[in-house]
Every structure is written in C-alpha cells, then in structure tokens.
Symmetry: C2
Subunit: 335 residues, 2 copies
Amino acid sequence: MIKIALDAMGGDNAPHALVHGGVEALRASRDDLELVMVGDEATIKNELARHFRINELPISILHASQAIRMDEAPAAAVKLKKDSSISVAMRLLQNGGAQAMVSAGNTGAIMAAALFILKRLKNCRRPGIGTVLPTEKGPALVLDVGANVDCKPEDLLQFAVMGSIYFARLHDIVHPRVGLLNIGREDVKGNELTTKAFALLRASRLNFIGNIEGSDVLAGAADVVVCDGFIGNVVIKFGKSLHGLFKSNLNRLVRKYLFSQIGAVMMKPTFDGIRKLFDYQEYGGAPFLGVQGVCIKAHGRSSPRAIRNAVLAAKKMVAEKVNEHIQQQLELGCC
Amino acid sequence: MIKIALDAMGGDNAPHALVHGGVEALRASRDDLELVMVGDEATIKNELARHFRINELPISILHASQAIRMDEAPAAAVKLKKDSSISVAMRLLQNGGAQAMVSAGNTGAIMAAALFILKRLKNCRRPGIGTVLPTEKGPALVLDVGANVDCKPEDLLQFAVMGSIYFARLHDIVHPRVGLLNIGREDVKGNELTTKAFALLRASRLNFIGNIEGSDVLAGAADVVVCDGFIGNVVIKFGKSLHGLFKSNLNRLVRKYLFSQIGAVMMKPTFDGIRKLFDYQEYGGAPFLGVQGVCIKAHGRSSPRAIRNAVLAAKKMVAEKVNEHIQQQLELGCC
C-alpha cells in the first residue's frame, strides 16, 4: 500500500482540480493507493461531497490552516507559514506518514520546503526539477528546469544520473539516452560549463549520446536532456508560448474566413490529435530529484486529469524505488 | 548609390537562390543599389543567363576561386582558403569596394572572416549576431544567438546598445523596448550573469523594460531581447523545431482522416496566414553587430525572397548609418 500526501490548496484550480484528480487516481488504482488530502479541512470536505461513493475510497484529510499563494516569495513564505499545506505535507513525508507528495502550488516554495524539511539525498550537490516534454519519439525528460540557475559541471552530471534513473524506472527503458543540451552536436562545441560537463558525462557509465542542439530536443534525439536550470527554464517557457501563439493565430484566422470555419469543424479529429500530442496533462508532472522523499510538482493550471497522472507518477516513483536507486548511485560517486 | 557584395556560393540553395534573390533586390530598388556577385565567375554567369534583361541591371562579378562548405570548421577554413567567396567579399568591404556584404554561408566562417579582415568596431568587446523573430506585436530582435557562448555582463549591455540602434533604424521605432531574457520577471530574478547585467541595463539610457521570461519573447514583450549566445542559440533552434513538429504532425493527421483532407483544403487561407506569420523569409536575415562593416547572414536554406529581403536590409543598414551610430555610442561608453 502506497500512501500519498496531496496538497489540495496549491495551483490555479485548487481545490477542485486537486480533489477531483485525486479521486480519479484512486479509482484508477487497485487497492494499493491511499491519499491524504492536505489543506483546509472544511474546504476539502465540501469538495469531496461533490463526488459519488466517496466513502468507499481510502481518503483521509490532514488539516493545514495556511496556504502559500502562487506569487509569494518562496523561502520567506515557507519560513513564515509553518502550517501551510505544502509544509504540512512535507512533514508527513518526513515522519513516514506518507511516501510521496504531489502539489500544483508555488514551485519555489515546494522546493524550499523540500530542502528545509526533507533535506537533500546524501552526496547530492543540488536537487533538480525535471519536466517531461512530448517529442517525435515519445516523452523526454528535461532537467534542470529552474531550481539551479548557476551550475557546475558536476551538477549537470548528477542531473544526468538522477534523470536517467527516473526515466528508466518510470518509462521502463533500460538505458535511457542522455543528451547534453548545447549549441552544436560536435564534441568540442559549447561554453565553459558544457565543455567540462561533456568530459564528465563521457567518462560516466551512463548511455551518453553526446551533445544535442535546441532543434534535437523535440525530434526525440535523447530520453534525458541535461542542462542548467536557467536555460531549461527559458526553453520550456518559450516552447509553451510558441504553441499558444500558433493556436491563437489559428483561431483568429479561422474566424476571418468562412470556408475555414467549416474546414475547422471537418478537421476536428486532426486538431484533437495535435492537442493530445502537445498536452502536458498526459505527462504526469515534474519530479524533484535529489531530495529525501518523492515530490511531484503538477502544473499550476492542472486539470483533474493532469493531477490524476501526477499522483500515479508519484505512486510509480515509490513502487519503483527511484530515490533508493538514486541514493545508491550517488554513494557510488556517480559513474 | 549603395554597393553590396553578395556571396553567391554560400548556403544550401547556392548559387540559384543567391543570384535570383540579388536580381529581385535590384528590381525592387530605384537606381540606388549596385551588386557585386562574389564567387566562381563561370557559375555566376551561367546563373545570370537564366534571367531576362539582366544587362540593364547594375551587376558586376568578382571572381573567387574557393568556397567554404557549411560543415567546415570556421576559423581553419577562413585561414586555409584565402580566396573563398566569403573572404573575397570581406576584403572588398575593407578596401571600400562595397559598403555591405550578404552571405547565406557558414555562419562561423563569416564571423571569423569579419573579425580577421574587418576587425571589431572600436570599444566593442564582442560582436554579436542578431536574429529577427515574428511575435504577436511584430518583429523582435534577439541577440546574441551564437557568436559568444560565455558572456560578461558588459557584453550583454553592448548587445543591448547595438541591438537597440539596429532595431530603431531598421524598423523606424524611436526607443525600442529592451528586455533581458531571464527566468522570471521580477528585478531580483536571475543567475550571476543576468543579475549583474540587469544593474548595468537599468543604469543605461536605453529603454530598458526589465526582465522578460521565455514565454514573453513571442508575446512581443520587447523589441530587443538580450541574452548570451548560448541561450540565444538553443532557444532559436528549439523554436524552429517546434514549428516543424507541429507541421509534420498536422500533415500526418490530415492524411489520416478523410474529412480533414477536405477541411484542410477549405482552410488554405488560414494556413497561408499562419505560414506567413512564422516565415523567416520576411525578416531580412541576421545582422552581425560590432564589426567594421555591414554584414548580414541570410538563413542557410534561404529562398530567393529571403535573399532579396536580406540584401534590402543590408542596404537600409548602410543608408541609415547603423554602424556609425553604434560606433558613436560605443565611444561614449555605452550609456
């Protein structure tokens, strides 16, 4: 039985999407999942009351009197609000009351709480945040996407090790292809950071395929794309906005032309296919790798389906002992 | 009269697209443009013979016995091939035989030749390469996109100054909005480089609007987007591939559904509008800023239309005295 703490208060669609998604995750599981919903008890009870036959599901509520807003300064908010749903969930993890936590709240606050309360895994230099992207050849994990804006080569090596283990276990691939995000594919290309990281990766026992370019990421050249948190953050946000720009202009132009309006209706199955391909909801949230506990950050605008998938990903991370395998590799010295 | 050297041998579609595009640029000009086509004389003559009434146009040919391939190591190729079309064009610029050069060839080789032969502008720390992107609010210039992979804060300030002058002159905007590409919009956000660059930009006399995120670029938040060449390169390549991924999947899905095939025909004006919006051909190539001469790099896969627009952009850079204005600002100490 795996017990997961679900922060019911974080994210733009809280508590509805969280509670609904949690219920869906339980219904998709076979008696091997239990949820602790963390947050304001009355609010969660109200929300649960909207679902049928909820008493049959293994749900408990853990009251937290505070919530951290999406726009609060992370470290200060975590220090100030000791009883926030994020910190209460982390403390439950720490004392063994749950084996994983899922939140759609303030990313920086979740990371700060994880560092203050759970601490880093032994030998982990810096925990990283991964994001799963759709590519031509299936999902790929990009990390770090924002936790570390100034990295050393050794940090990138650890991201590669942690990301590789996560990807292997979550996506059932024995030796994930690890690529180093760079300005060209040749071995000698790069800045100071990537040139040194390249040498470390080449010397490791990872399935390192070498440097990849910006254009290789979505072509699916690598399963695990390693980069510093600054570039990962900018690229992920840029990518999401390009999709949005395309869509808004498509809608604008469709409205402009009568034939296009009819054409758009006829093309619905095609557009549904495209949406599904680019849909972050299918991809189970962003894992925090390198902390003493399984933490998954769901997108702030998560739908119930996205939350369901994030909870199921957390469950798989626990079942597959991802953190235990990462700890083992870090103790071996990472290669 | 403005005289431009056009490298007829560089790029995937050389010499056809180059010669054709050059002819189109001349036809779009009113007797104030002259072209020197640089490359193998016989090849260029053959290509010119395919056009009508070519004798009426002010075209001359400057023979160059060598060409640098797209995949050659830049610095070595420039040193080895003294008579490459790129170097011959640069020397023409240097001795005053032309006021600008346009090439669709090996970017690194063009930059290396510009640095060896033309040299940097006085007080310019490092020349940068800009790329014009389409956004929701019109074109935006992103720089640097690859010339400098490890930057100091002062480099970013100079990119901002040079980009600002280029954008103001080429797009007729008095005070272009300068944004610093970063991981968040708040003033305090960033890594070591951007935090320091932020302070320099804030203290300058530029129209600095502050930090912008990856998702703000295509929304058109800034006219000039400043970043180091590593991140600029990765973001630009990533963006181009996302568009490609979208298109290839659209085509695949359209073929799958009969109704979608009919719908796609009806939606043609919409799709044409989208293509035009994302079309790099409309945007006149990538300026090299900070070297003693006007150099524009057209996309390697440039069509004749893209070459035409790159030549016209080079002509405007000369007419508007962009480099003279940049030199003046650099001598004033950049703020």
